[in-house]
């Protein structure tokens, strides 16, 4: 029995069973959701040992004839396994956290329904083997996240969500436009088949046009710097577990993964010479500008949101280098950032839960009142800003090293500067929220409930342990297959279709 | 009773739609008709017994040619007014306006049919209906007082409709 479709089918089924069951048994949605996410996480872990080979699943039993696929293909290779691992583990911790956190909002059942839809969409994006299914799942994720951003139905949330929808919808329209032109050009939508066609035809004006459309569309989704306007509004407005999902996972799946899949595996990074330069410059701009904008924030969650822009810049920058080391650094940083940023957003959620405030000027000295939150947040901040023994240090080191190695020492220096700025704003966050004098208003604050602490502690332990991923046996299992998939480029077609 | 009639109606429409007597089609049509009977049977028809009287059906058969005849007459009338207007733009043979008429029909379905007949006839147009008063826009207002206008516009349909529906 092949479990690949389960990644989409189970959360999708759960999404629509939850309102049914919740209507008769109140509070059952907590249990159901957590069971589903835990199961999915276990399923992903079971996929790790076979990450090195590419598995293809043809929906409905429509096998390709003479090497030309005509059904819907689901593909799980090294990169997909890595993304699935990130998505499902963060989702598990987020749902565990939501059990208590979302009790303050009305209608938890609807929240979990939307959450499951978002999860199904993201898993679908990762395992989809053709452009159009990727678009459909991308839209499912996007629509669910629009609704989740506005879950509080305050005016601020609604406006942020509207802005998110306008920009996200424009991005989707551009992507669909790109898909239309792409289809006209290649007469196929399957990644593997299309990659063969493009390899045969070479660069045409239509291909360049499609590349620009995809770059802008997915750039908007991943909030790279010129297209980032929605993110600092949308991510802080959402409830904390959703902020964690949005910043930790969604922008990476919808933006970074899709960009990498299309530009590395389908079009081929070497096909269009300017592509590397564009990715590098987008990465550097968002890296630096995001860091400096984060420095000026007073709102805790807004600071974290700007930090996301900056860190996604690092990831794109690393992929833009195109070397094996760069890709390794990019993937490693992607994992690190997912874990750390989700942890930080969960921390901020705990602070908001206890103090009802996220203004850093008013907060302060919470370390004594909330030791677990404070400590985990400290670990995450230190790791994120790149202090030596922690995971974040290694990923940034690899990226900087790779950029020097690839012949861009100047850009490496810029990355170092951005890293120093990162240290500065995380230091500011720690100082103004957890250290210093305790404000009078928050004397009554206490530690967050146990169910909220457990995910934070787990994520903190994982974030410390992530450095171990660089050890040879572990790296061979998780990171190397993904690096090979990206590094292999258009070789992907041979892996999927054989021959 | 109401539901049975709805089911029969639905099945008849289904057969006309598919035009196929294959047994599969009959089974599906039966199921569909049953669903429709359950969902809308209550509201489709209010007085099913009226359907059983043959007198109403006969008048219905009379009404259709009558209506078509009136419509043809009105068509020529309006066409005449349009053509004359082209030649005499200063003095067009039209006198547009809204008149109020009173109907003697009691049943709501009958009133609806009356209003729709008036609307379908060129040159007249039902604007609103309040109980037994209809507001009608005419291209050439025949009379302004209630009685005359009612006689001129509605009487020709009313006499038959009242026998069908009341």
């Amino acid at each position: 029995m092949n479990w690949i479709p389960a990644f989409v089918a189970i959360p999708l089924g759960a999404a629509f069973l939850i309102p049914l069951i919740e209507h008769w048994i109140k509070g059952s949605s907590d249990f159901l959701t957590n069971a589903v996410t835990a199961f999915l996480m276990g399923l992903t872990l079971s996929f790790i040992h076979q990450a090195a080979q590419t598995q293809v699943y043809f929906v409905g039993g429509w096998e390709p004839a003479e090497g030309i696929p005509f059904g819907i293909a689901l593909v799980v290779d090294g990169l997909s396994v890595l993304m699935l691992l990130v998505v499902n583990s963060i989702a598990f911790f987020a749902t565990l956290y939501s059990v208590k956190y979302m009790a303050r909002y009305t209608d938890k059942g609807k929240f979990f329904t939307l959450f499951m839809l978002m999860l199904a969409g993201m898993n679908g994006v990762v395992i989809a083997g053709d452009l159009f299914n990727m678009f459909v799942f991308l839209e499912i994720t996007a629509i669910a996240s629009y609704a989740l951003v506005a879950f509080g139905i305050g005016s601020e949330e609604l406006e942020a969500s509207f802005k998110y929808q306008v920009l996200g919808g424009t991005a989707s329209a551009l992507v669909l436009f790109g898909i239309a032109i792409f289809y006209m050009m290649t007469k196929t939508l399957n990644f593997a088949d299309a990659s063969r066609v493009i390899a045969a035809t070479g660069v045409t004006p239509a291909l360049l046009f499609v590349s620009v459309l995809f770059l802008v569309g997915f750039g908007l989704k991943s909030a790279l710097m010129p297209f980032h306007a929605w993110l600092p509004d949308a991510h802080p407005s959402a409830p904390a577990p959703i902020s964690a999902m949005l910043s930790g996972v969604v922008i990476k799946v919808l933006g970074v993964y899709t960009l990498v899949r299309i530009f590395f595996n389908v079009i081929g990074i070497g096909t269009i010479p300017a592509l590397k330069t564009v990715l590098l410059s987008l990465g550097v701009i968002s890296m630096v500008a995001g860091a400096f904008l984060a420095l000026g924030q007073q709102d805790m969650k807004r600071l974290l949101a700007y930090s996301s822009i900056s860190q996604v810049g690092y990831i794109i920058f690393a992929f833009g280098l195109g070397t094996e080391l760069g890709i390794l650094g990019g993937l490693f940083h992607l994992m690190n950032h997912s874990v750390l940023k989700s942890l930080l957003f969960l921390n901020s959620g705990a602070v908001v839960y206890e103090t009802e405030s996220r203004d850093m000027e008013k907060l302060g000295g919470l370390m004594h009142k909330m030791p677990v939150t404070g400590t985990t947040s400290m670990i995450a901040s230190l790791s994120m800003s790149g202090l030596p023994p922690l995971g974040g240090f290694f990923s940034k080191l690899i990226i900087i090293w790779a950029s020097i190695d690839a012949g861009y020492p100047l850009l490496g220096a810029v990355a170092v500067i951005a890293s120093i700025v990162t240290l500065a704003y995380y230091f500011k966050l720690q100082k103004e929220v957890f250290l210093g004098k305790l404000a009078d208003a928050f004397q009554k604050a206490k530690e967050a409930p146990v169910l909220m602490c457990i995910p934070m502690i787990c994520l903190a332990i994982i974030s410390v342990g992530l450095g171990l991923l660089l050890l040879d046996p572990v790296r061979e299992m998780v990171l190397t297959p993904a690096v090979h998939v990206i590094q292999g480029g258009v070789d992907y077609a041979r892996m999927v279709l054989g021959g | 009773m109401k539901r049975i009639i709805t089911i029969i109606f639905a099945f008849a429409v289904w057969m006309m739609l598919t035009w196929n007597t294959h047994p599969e089609n009959l089974i599906i049509g039966g199921i569909v008709a049953l669903i429709i009977g359950l969902l809308f049977g209550n509201n489709f028809i209010h007085h099913p017994m009226k359907l059983l009287s043959p007198r109403r059906w006969i008048f219905m058969l009379i009404y259709i040619p009558l209506f078509l005849w009136e419509m043809a007459k009105a068509n020529f009338d309006v066409a005449y007014r349009v053509i004359v207007s082209i030649f005499r733009p200063k003095n067009m043979p039209i006198n547009p306006g809204i008149v109020r008429i009173k109907t003697a029909i009691q049943s709501e379905m009958g009133r609806t049919f009356l209003a729709n007949s008036i609307t379908l006839t060129p040159g007249t147009f039902t604007i609103d209906i309040k109980d037994d008063i209809l507001y009608i826009h005419c291209i050439n207002v025949p009379a302004t007082d209630l009685e005359t206008a009612s006689r001129q516009i509605a009487r020709r349909f009313e006499n038959v409709l009242i026998k069908i529906f009341d």
Binding site: F132, A147, E159, F162, Q165, S172, A173, A180, Y183 | -
Partner: protein, 112 residues
């Protein structure tokens, strides 16, 4: 070729509406125009001159068929567009309830 260019122009009109208009409902309308332009383009890509419906039976063979894939995709895209539009409009309505205005300039966060 002309039809392709025309649908691209339609797309640009929609984009203009989304970016320039200051009324929430007009922005939503811009979206719909954009989506329909793409759907139109997609269907046109699949069109073959003189093609018939792509159904294979015993007695139909050797004819030109219209490409069925874009039509299926467009149907899906229409459904997605419907979902997006419904969400967008319902949010616009909720914002209207809060501010009694559809004007983007009167709504704090959306300004600029």
């Amino acid at each position: 070729m002309t039809v392709f260019i025309l649908s691209v122009i339609l797309f640009l009109i929609g984009l203009y509406g989304v970016l320039v208009k200051r009324n929430l409902i007009k922005i939503a309308l811009g979206f719909m125009i954009m989506e329909y332009a793409i759907n139109l383009l997609f269907v046109l890509i699949g069109y073959r001159a003189g093609g018939t419906a792509p159904i294979f039976t015993q007695d139909v063979s050797g004819q030109i068929f219209v490409d069925p894939l874009p039509q299926a995709l467009v149907l899906t895209a229409i459904v997605i567009g419907l979902g997006t539009t419904a969400l967008l409009v319902s949010f616009a309505v909720r914002i209207y309830q809060k501010y009694e205005s559809f004007d983007i300039r009167k709504i704090r966060e959306l300004r600029g």
